[in-house]
Amino acid sequence: DTEVTQTPKHLVMGMTNKKSLKCEQHMGHRAMYWYKQKAKKPPELMFVYSYEKLSINESVPSRFSPECPNSSLLNLHLHALQPEDSALYLCASSPGVGTGNSGANVLTFGAGSRLTVL
């Protein structure tokens, strides 16, 4: 299995809702990432998990809460979002970070979850 699977593909939520985005990979990768991408812009890093521990939080507002229950799963919990949070949320994974030439690792991206906040 060489895929990263994201659910749901589309999500519409109000500003008072609580929802979650889910990401799953079975490639044995030990690093997982959340990116946010606005239309016609490059992906912006939000969070990095390395060996199930949060290693990078790029000053993301607390209304976004990541969770890595195990090495195959990554969640992004959403609460009290704003309309400007509407975007494509991309999950990615890579073999690992922080050792050797892991900087050369390729990221495998999921197809994304398109979030609309009303």
């Binding site: 016609k40 892991s102 900087g103 050369a104 690792n105 990221l107 197809a111 398109r114």
Partner: protein
């Protein structure tokens, strides 16, 4: 600090003609360089990467890229464009001294439009 520039928002080319998508980078040391492609409403797909060695890197779908250290460039090329190559292309860089703990730095993206 590391950065990457894609000077063209859009590149138009006729099917069958060669294509080039430009990328220049800046790192304090040596770079790892990547090209990714994104089709509408999809995630990014890896095309190719430069780590070290041969300056000409061959990747998926007939794409290749040439690493030029003196010009700090890593342009993406294909000898004969297909309509199906129409997509958004991102160049990305990471400093070799980084062990991957920090994220890739992506360029702003170049939209490739191949006309039939």
């Amino acid at each position: 600090a590391q950065s990457v520039a894609q000077p063209e928002d859009q590149v138009n080319v006729a099917e069958g003609n060669p294509l080039t998508v430009k990328c220049t980078y800046s790192v304090s040391g040596n770079p790892y360089l990547f090209w990714y492609v994104q089709y509408p409403n999809r995630g990014l797909q890896f095309l190719l990467k430069y780590i070290t060695g041969d300056n000409l890197v061959k990747g998926s779908y007939g794409f290749e890229a040439e690493f030029n250290k003196s010009q700090t460039s890593f342009h993406l090329k294909k000898p004969s464009a297909l309509v199906s190559d129409s997509a958004l292309y991102f160049c990305a860089v990471r400093d070799v001294a980084d062990t991957g703990r920090r994220a890739l730095t992506f360029g702003s993206g170049t939209r490739l439009q191949v006309q039939p």
